[in-house]
Amino acid sequence: MATKPMRIRASVKDGVTEIKALIAHEMETGQRKDANGAIVPAHFITELTATHNGKVVLSSEFGTAISKNPYLAFKFKGGAAGDKIALTWKDNKGETRTDEAAIA
């Protein structure tokens, strides 16, 4: 299945960079049943890493309780306009995706 791009916004204010990301992913829990009563297999993001100019600023592990199309916001010190932010996720089926954005 093709993966869809993330939407990443990064802005810097008073030396602190705030990153907001919307990640397109179905985040299926493995507990839902389809119309025929068969369990829909779990399919969710397990790991998400954010880097700033190649340096890790956040690494997270997700469980099935994260909402569909996850939203994530966090802040870190440093960063300047134009710096590169990259987010990478990996899901339980081994799919990964990386998207990049520049700090505005």
Partner: protein, 155 residues
């Protein structure tokens, strides 16, 4: 080291033994980046999850805060934030007591990243939401009850 490994293999019923070793502190539970902490995410109860995360007796702290709505209309999308004012916070986790698996997410924070993370979670029913914070070698916790009028795990 080899001896130990033999012992594990000999007694070996996999997870149970590993769990026991982790509890005994022989294996440090995974803070490694590449390892998804399966035991913690698959643990059903709060107590088991805390154990899998290596959090022993977290202290209640006023410096840790869970932000979220008092009442969530839609359990499938509940905005939850965790902030910690404790210096040297290296780990944040969101736990939801009454979900099938208590642990929703954990975040590892390198130096320079603020202990302030917002995300959205699913909640099956009204439950206490816990924020677990690790600073230094100590664990701290805070809680907030979020009422759910429509569950997010239905089918």
């Amino acid at each position: 080291m080899n001896n130990q490994r033999r012992k594990v293999l000999k007694t070996g019923t996999g997870a149970a033994v590993l769990g026991a070793l982790a509890a005994a502190g022989l294996i440090t539970p995974g803070m490694a980046l590449a390892d998804w902490n399966k035991a913690a995410f698959e643990a059903k109860s709060m107590a088991d999850t805390l154990k899998a995360l290596g959090a022993v007796q977290p202290a209640d702290s006023k410096d840790v805060q869970v932000t979220g709505p008092d009442i969530a209309e839609n359990g499938a999308v509940v905005p939850v934030g965790v902030t910690s004012a404790i210096a040297g916070t290296t780990m944040l986790a969101i736990l939801i007591d009454k979900n099938p698996n208590a642990l929703a997410a954990s975040f590892t924070l390198p130096a320079g990243t603020e202990a302030n993370v917002q995300t959205r979670v699913k909640m099956g029913q009204t439950s206490n939401v816990y924020a677990l914070v690790k600073a230094g070698d100590k664990f701290y916790m805070a809680t907030k009850e979020i009422k759910v009028t429509l569950g997010g795990c239905g089918g």
